[in-house]
């Protein structure tokens, strides 16, 4: 096992930007939600890797990942309920149709 820590970070970076791409480019809200999950996971990888490689004696990154997962679950639940509500209002879940907060 002699993978340099940089490769993990680059992996997470790529995953993060795949998420970003999805977030910006996708049209419907659920896809965007999934892109957010990708981004969160990219962050999680970073936490874990940093914990393992840099401060292996402690568990900060580990515990943080746990919290992130918990919060991600919560966020998803709320997001999905919002999406469903939006769907009820607009009969679609296109991100473009939700711009009431402009100007």
């Amino acid at each position: 096992m002699n993978i340099p820590v940089e490769s993990y970070f680059i992996l997470s970076t790529l995953l993060f930007f795949i998420g970003v791409y999805g977030f910006v480019a996708r049209k419907n809200l659920i896809s965007i939600l999934m892109s957010v999950e990708l981004i969160l996971n990219a962050a999680n990888i970073n936490f874990v890797v940093a914990n393992r490689f840099i401060f292996p004696e402690q568990l900060e990154g580990h515990i943080y990942s746990l919290f992130v997962i918990a919060i991600a679950a919560a966020e998803t639940a709320v997001a999905i309920s919002i999406i469903i509500n939006v769907y009820r209002q607009k009969k679609n879940i296109d991100a473009k149709s939700i711009n009431e907060l402009k100007y």
Binding site: M1, N2, I3, P4, V5, E6, I10, L11, T13, L14, L15, F16, F17, I18, G19, V20, Y21, G22, V24, A25, R26, K27, N28, I30, S31, M34, E37, L38, N41, N44, I45, V48, V49, R52, F53, I54, P56, L59, H62, I63, L66, F67, I69, A70, I71, A72, A73, E75, T76, A77, V78, I80, S81, I82, I83, I84, N85, Y87, R88, I93
Partner: protein, 179 residues
């Protein structure tokens, strides 16, 4: 430095899978398929955790993420009528914008990471073998000393409760809508 050790190969496979499924997640035109690809991505990430000897985290990742969240999303997709057939056509401006952001961002971050140089002389083999004892995790989560996280834990639990209530409140149909 030997590259083709077993663990290295596993890492490369995992990494390739993560990226592949990630890309598929965001590019697939069928939304249910994207959800499926997302599941695979998360699954592979759990594998990565295992490789790093964080079994508990991998388990949580699998159970909560892959098992919970993705299922939730799938349910939502199925709940929303006609979404499955709704083809994602994301040509044009936003796709280019996304690509620009992703490519420029990746290059920037990658160059930063490479330039930074993380601890050139550590002993990887030593690090990898340390497994995390469940007891330690439990103690860390519930303890009140330094580097122990009772308060955030409780906060998260409150947050979760709030989320449950909130999502129910939001998703409940208004009575007037029914009429």
């Amino acid at each position: 430095m030997e590259l083709l050790t077993a663990s290295n190969i596993i890492f490369f496979i995992l990494a390739a899978a993560i990226l592949l499924f990630g890309i598929l997640t965001v590019t697939s035109t069928k939304i249910l398929r994207s959800a499926t690809y997302l599941f695979f991505t998360l699954f592979c990430i759990a594998g990565l955790y295992l490789q790093l000897n964080y079994e508990f985290l991998a388990a949580v990742q699998l159970s909560v993420y892959a098992g919970g969240i993705v299922i939730l999303i799938v349910f939502a997709i199925l709940l929303i009528k006609g979404l499955g057939e709704d083809k994602e056509i994301n040509i044009g401006q936003r796709r280019i914008m996304g690509l620009v952001a992703a490519i420029v961002g990746s290059i920037t971050c990658a160059s930063v990471i490479i330039k930074f140089g993380f601890m050139p002389d550590y002993d990887l083999a030593d690090l990898m073998v340390q497994t995390v004892d469940m007891k330690v995790i439990g103690k860390t989560l519930m303890g009140t000393n330094q580097y122990e996280y009772l308060l955030p834990f409780e906060a998260v639990s409150v947050l979760l409760l709030a989320c449950i209530i909130g999502s129910i409140a939001i998703a409940t149909k208004d009575k007037e809508d029914n009429k």
